[in-house]
Symmetry: D3
Subunit: 238 residues, 6 copies
């Protein structure tokens, strides 16, 4: 039995509130249960120096967590003067995941920055962030298409992410904080709309795992992403 009473292959409630931010080109407040992440997509004509003049675009991401998003207050990274290794790892993952589904030639010389800020954390903040980032980017690109600034769609597919792990010997989907703290293995999967894999990060915590367990976690992730893909389509009218 999971602490939350969920079935092993059951996601938490997925909520997506689009247009949360009045200023951003695209935005949403995504929830995986009690985890809530505010994602904004910001369009900039400016590109990173190494990409200029090549006719291609770029998608990047930044991640942050409000100091009291967690059970006990954490230090504010701006006050400490640097982003933690964990923060950098996550924002690199988000950017990489989104770039997997964007055709940079079609996007042309513009950049989207996806800001993912965790308002409340209960496990799975990075997977909610990736899943919400697709929604924010989709809405921002739809606006460019509607305005005639883009004539072809640079987004090739959906992308979503979910965690799975082995909790008290059982593979379970979408770990919340309590499960995450006790899991013997913890994996994050980034999948795209056609079922292919963009990223696997599976880590032993306490006990190592074997190939069979890895595959079982991957299959749980497929189930979860199917739900997330549906929620993304509903939220964006796609």
């Amino acid at each position: 039995m999971r602490p939350s009473g969920r079935a092993p292959d059951q996601m938490r409630a997925i909520t997506i509130e689009t247009g949360y931010s009045a200023h951003a080109e695209g935005s949403c407040l995504i929830g995986f249960g009690d985890t809530r992440v505010l994602v904004t997509a910001s369009l900039e004509e400016r590109l990173p120096p190494w990409l200029r003049g090549k006719g291609k675009g770029w998608v990047t991401a930044e991640y942050g967590m409000l100091p009291r998003a967690t059970h006990t207050r954490g230090n504010r990274e701006a006050a400490k003067g640097k982003q933690s290794g964990r923060t950098q790892e996550i924002q690199r993952l988000i950017g990489r995941s989104l770039r997997t589904v964007v055709d940079m030639d079609v996007l042309g010389e513009r950049q989207f920055t996806l800001d993912c800020d965790v308002l409340q954390a209960d496990g799975g903040t990075r997977t909610a962030a990736i899943s919400g980032a697709w929604v924010a980017l989709r809405l921002a690109v739809d606006k460019l298409l509607a305005d005639g600034k883009l004539t072809a769609d640079p987004i090739k597919s959906q992308v979503a992410a979910v965690s799975a792990g082995i909790h008290e010997g059982t593979p379970v989907l979408d770990l919340d904080y309590i499960e995450d703290s006790n899991a013997h293995a913890d994996a994050n999967f980034v999948l795209i709309g056609d079922g292919k894999i963009a990223e696997v990060q599976a880590t032993a915590e306490g006990a190592t795992f074997d190939e069979e367990e890895l595959l079982r976690l991957l299959r749980l992730a497929r189930i979860g992403c199917t739900d997330i893909f549906a929620a993304q389509r509903k939220a964006t009218g796609r």
Copy 2:
């Protein structure tokens, strides 16, 4: 005529949603029109070194703005590696304002940190933050009182803040972003429940001002704070 159609002495809609954060001892999402600030009050038994062993408590504040809270995306302070002078000025003001109404001897050896994070900005983020911080602190202290951890109430009064400025020659209350960008003088007032003043910060922008104008701005601030005090009482059941 104000760009928003408001009367000169009219506040924007004040909204206060308490309990926004599941983990914090006290929290609210406060809105002054389109300005939205999430405030959490976090209790820590740890005190700043210079206060230890004196039987007194402390209240401090931190302030941040999400990169896309504004019309164009700003840099993330955590990524830049330092807080701007503006951020530090504001968080010092918030902490100072709240300390004005707290009896540190009654609070005893504990510290509250008030995190004020701007989710969306449309002028007046520091005044909304101060006004919301009182609500978050009030709720957190009520919890300590209810739990019997405090037997007397360390909060002596309400505290609220509002801006006023001279826009196209007319003194107006609670400037939004458009007014703020064009005001010839811009003032922030922090008032306490009995009508006394905790802080005045009045700055000429373009044109200087005289004593009469300063007094007219102060009187507008009294009108605004009366509204905010009422909203605070309603939100906290006081």
Copy 3:
């Protein structure tokens, strides 16, 4: 009775030694009693990026305090690797105050940086800095006028600053360190030559204050600035 024996509306001795620095375009060592601030005005043809090509100039300020300017040695900000919030607040105030009296169109595409370094501190370092910065800038601009590099005078008025506060129940002018440490309210006023107000920063310390008290502090500030304006004119031969 004030600790220094001064009357409530009495300034400390104002001393201004011009040309203190051989290299700067304009400079002075200003003293308000035992508070001594060395101010230099440095001319640069380079402008901040957002101002380039607009035919306008800029005035900015930096503030520092020598580690042993104070009763007990403070940390050197260069060694700590960052400027404190207090330092940033003060240097922003100095720059803003001086810009109030400069016509940027007449100044043209050049920038003055006002470096205000406190050699000895006894209260009122920011007000002495603002008052001395006007002298250094006035001297530097006079040199440009004398050299024919400017044909019209960009300085529209004098600007000076002074503190006032409520000490043991009495409003007093130009607080020294002992008074500042014990004042129940502490205000800094920046006034310009025609009597108008450029900035008011009034803060409750311990006890709050009311409108009447604010006005009494403002009136003390007018008395103090009259003295400073006279000293500035004498020092610059205006």
Copy 4:
């Protein structure tokens, strides 16, 4: 055909020179082809604060790359004043991997820091670092055992890491720099001596991959780790 002429399941030459550093408790210079990493294991009695007094030990890692380890000179992180996200990601991975095979209760209240410095880079620096770190740690622990400072062996198993990726449609083992730059998918596997998995990090680059491809990469990794385990045993006399 691979650029290097290797078979798809062929490792580069594995070289391990133990005792490279005269001062460290354990050390080796490990080579995977032209990739060379100097690893030292340093024993400290001091523990991270959150572990003190619990009777347990800790293993952590730091990673660096000499500026000219690469084809074109990179910036020195010490001179830039911060470690890149990539560096932090890698050093977190190394520490996590080694902790998988260490019994912290048996180790007792002491910490090993594994410094992995890349002298020359040709792909696979993180996998060589993990594989070499085990050797350095093994030697350092053997010294504690020989000196009687430990009576039981805290190292439960070998741990090694290797990359595999899809290069021009073919899954290949242990990518060198040229292959790494062109791979469509790139994975790092950390395996332990009994065949179990400690970590999988598989990332799509350009094209996504499917479950079958993931498994083929994992099987290549098993082949590679078998070679590395043998080289580790030979180097440490185990």
Copy 5:
């Protein structure tokens, strides 16, 4: 002929104004011609961690230069967020030089920090700083002796420093800025009262030098230090 008209072995005017700072235990404003350095000696009961509990004292130094001490304005190190290599080199030299003449056992468990801040620079700021630091320290120690906090004198000797260099083929003493910019070799000597050498730093600039030239520079330095020693004694009444 030297640009200043001085003879090759002639110092600039040495001026020492003691008691410049009201708060410091010892202080002076030292001038070597137009070079002016404010030095304060601050007593702290706190020692660096590695010295605690050994019955010994410590002397350390910090060095800074006001942004407009120089011909063109330099960046403020506090604003840049770090001290330059040059600054660190100089402050390490000052501390080392002063420690040469202090008996740390006699000083006992207390630390003096010598802050040397350059108000105006015209070459030789580090040598003036060292020479002035001795005066500030002497005065501070005399105060401890007078107060009975020290019963024996921990200062064993005078220490002074001066530059010498080869300018247009001629060895000259105490280079000013113009000479320093054109010298083919530039040396700083720290000498103690009995004629012994505490430090030599001789650097070729453009042309290298030989043993004979090094000795001629050293002999010039002896002449200069004799003058400085006399000025130090006069300033401190020794």
Copy 6:
């Protein structure tokens, strides 16, 4: 008797392994006894801003020490976020020393960066670094000459460095760590091929020294540099 059994004027074994790094334009691993420094010379077409467009080149250096190069592990400077004063002092010395023997007009608009990383430390790391940097630079320049990118040789002379100090009353050459820790005076000499001096840095530690001792140390340094010059010529085939 020296702890190592060496005669007072005897160098440790000098070893130079050229071509240690596959990527760098020139490189060597230089050893002075147990001190080992890896030096790479990297060619960049980019120049520092203040040198651009003047037809001249530049030579600069960076220095680092692996955390466990020393007896006890030191902090990693990249992790601390800044280079120590010692590191900066040394890298400035290395760059200055090499520039003494390079004709920047002949070099033309290109820069060499000499990275000197200490793999193992046993005293004399800066002198080994300078001596090795000449080898790496010589090899890199020879390559430019061989490739016809330079038609004249910009290197005017050899440059080498060695330490000498007074250990237990005796002047000795090339101090190792044990001697360095106990020396009463410690000097580093940078000499060029024709016997002239590029730099002298002589520091009293505990006891001061006199002119005669300084000269004896210089003469020892001449002996040492003769050996190093021979090893440099052998390593580079000059």
